[in-house]
Amino acid sequence: MIGTYFSLMADIVLRHIRSWGLRPWVFFIIVGPAFVVFSALLFDRTDYAPSLYAGLALYVVFHLNGASRLVFLRNHFGLQKSRIVRLIENALCVLPFLVFLLYMRDYYIAAGLMTLICALVFFPSQRIIPWVVPTPFGRRPYEFLTGFRKTFPLLLLLAVLMYQAVAAGNFNFAAGITGFVFLIMISYYSEVEEAYFVWIHAYTPGRFLQYKIKYALLHGVILASPFVLTCLLIDPGQWYVIALVVIYGLVYLVAVVLARYAAFPHQIDLIQGILLGIAFVLPPVLLYVIFLFYRRSIRSLNQILL
């Protein structure tokens, strides 16, 4: 039964890859080296790479352990077998991270990561917290409101790391954390918006995009502010570095918002993903990408708003 389950899961993964218009072997040829390059760059650029790397691996596992999915596994496999399934799934997810950590001889972090993913098997994650997490984001639109609540533990962790950066007087580390906060904001726009919640708006496509971008920028500034101010507290002389991070982060956020509606009602496709990736590395491309996505967004939204 477990074999059938994993065979089905493999089929589903391959279907996803094919739905992006790629042959699975091409995908693995691209993603494998890309992962190694990304990992090598990360370990080369910062001393905190092993911790960040392990955190990233845990983040992936955490997303795999959604409450409804766990209920499904338990219903169909029973408690014992569902734990075995989860253990195998978690191990498969962190395997690439684990291999690289071992290659970098970060044995303690690797052992810690293994222990944590084994422990996770006994705890259902992503439980809905019964109390409502207050947010500074008003009540519309919803992306920052729900995103902030979903990533609240991660933001708390970043706040703790920021405290350590202040204690060590490490401006670069603090600026890196601020950049990471922008990546978290981008994740708030990673899912396709339900067609119904676009449809209910009595706006023209242009007005709708204006509304979404306005609040993305406003809420982005609010969420980044404490981190930016902390950076300035560490080294006010490097204000221009942090200004660059903020401006680039916000402009990139706008590009992601537009990419979301350019692809609407579908998920961002591979070409759009590659364009966003290029724009991330080559900032001048970002302006062209924004222009392109804006035109496509208007076209996509015309179908549902007009």
């Binding site: 729900t146 979903k150 919640f197």
Partner: protein
């Protein structure tokens, strides 16, 4: 009046709607019946403009969707969004603000809890409350009575009748015949991609009898032992 003529919809060559004709007048409640998969939800999505279609839909509004409250059968609620925040989002989308949600919370929903923690019936009531508070002129209620408790079913029935009194246009589907019997002025049967037959209030009891006869014959096919 909303006039629908020759509405067609296909998915990958499979024609689900093959030319639906409907006329919907203000102050009337219309029911759509049909088997599972007959195309009721597709028809509603097309009228709402959520899905592209072929054919013609005319209404007195410049853009029908901005005057339409649509209660979908598959409701979606954002994670970690409270009931109150959901209502604010839906009302703000139609330019409505400053509403006293507590005063108008007819279903006594716990508005400050996350909507995803609500039961099936509570979610349905929240979504219904949202479209009612949007002050729409036309309502599409897809499976409005699904998952509701007895008292809520009675309340929703009264709401539909009140909407009728207020000269709103209501189009609804339900698999619970008694609810359609109590609320609708006209029932359309969606079969083979078209609204093949219609029944006015006087003919509802005949339709009920026909459905029961077919149901009893159908159970025999199971060969239960």
């Amino acid at each position: 009046m909303i006039t629908i003529r020759g509405l067609r919809k296909s998915y990958f060559g499979n024609e689900v709607l093959k030319g639906v004709d409907l006329t919907l007048s203000p102050g009337h409640v219309y029911g759509i019946m049909g088997h599972n998969g007959a195309g009721k939800t597709t028809l509603f999505n097309c009228i709402a403009g959520i899905e592209p279609y072929e054919g013609r839909i005319e209404s007195p509004f410049s853009l029908l969707k901005n005057h339409l409250g649509y209660l979908m059968t598959d409701l979606y609620f954002f994670p970690m969004m409270t009931g109150r925040e959901y209502l604010i989002l839906c009302c703000a989308a139609r330019g409505r603000s400053g509403i006293d949600f507590d005063a108008r919370n007819i279903f006594h929903l716990p508005l400050d809890q996350y909507a995803r923690t609500y039961s099936t019936g509570m979610k349905k009531k929240l979504a219904l409350l949202a479209i009612l508070l949007q002050d729409n002129d036309v309502f599409i209620l897809d499976e409005a009575f699904n998952g509701l408790d007895l008292q809520s079913t009675l309340i929703v029935t009264e709401i539909v009748l009140e909407l009728k009194r207020l000269k709103k246009t209501v189009l609804l589907s339900s698999h619970i015949f008694s609810t359609l019997q109590e609320t609708c002025d006209l029932l359309y049967i969606l079969e083979d991609g078209r609204c093949q037959r219609s029944y006015n209030k006087d003919a509802f009891s005949d339709l009920d009898r026909q459905l029961r006869v077919f149901g009893n014959e159908g159970i025999g096919m199971l060969g239960l032992k």
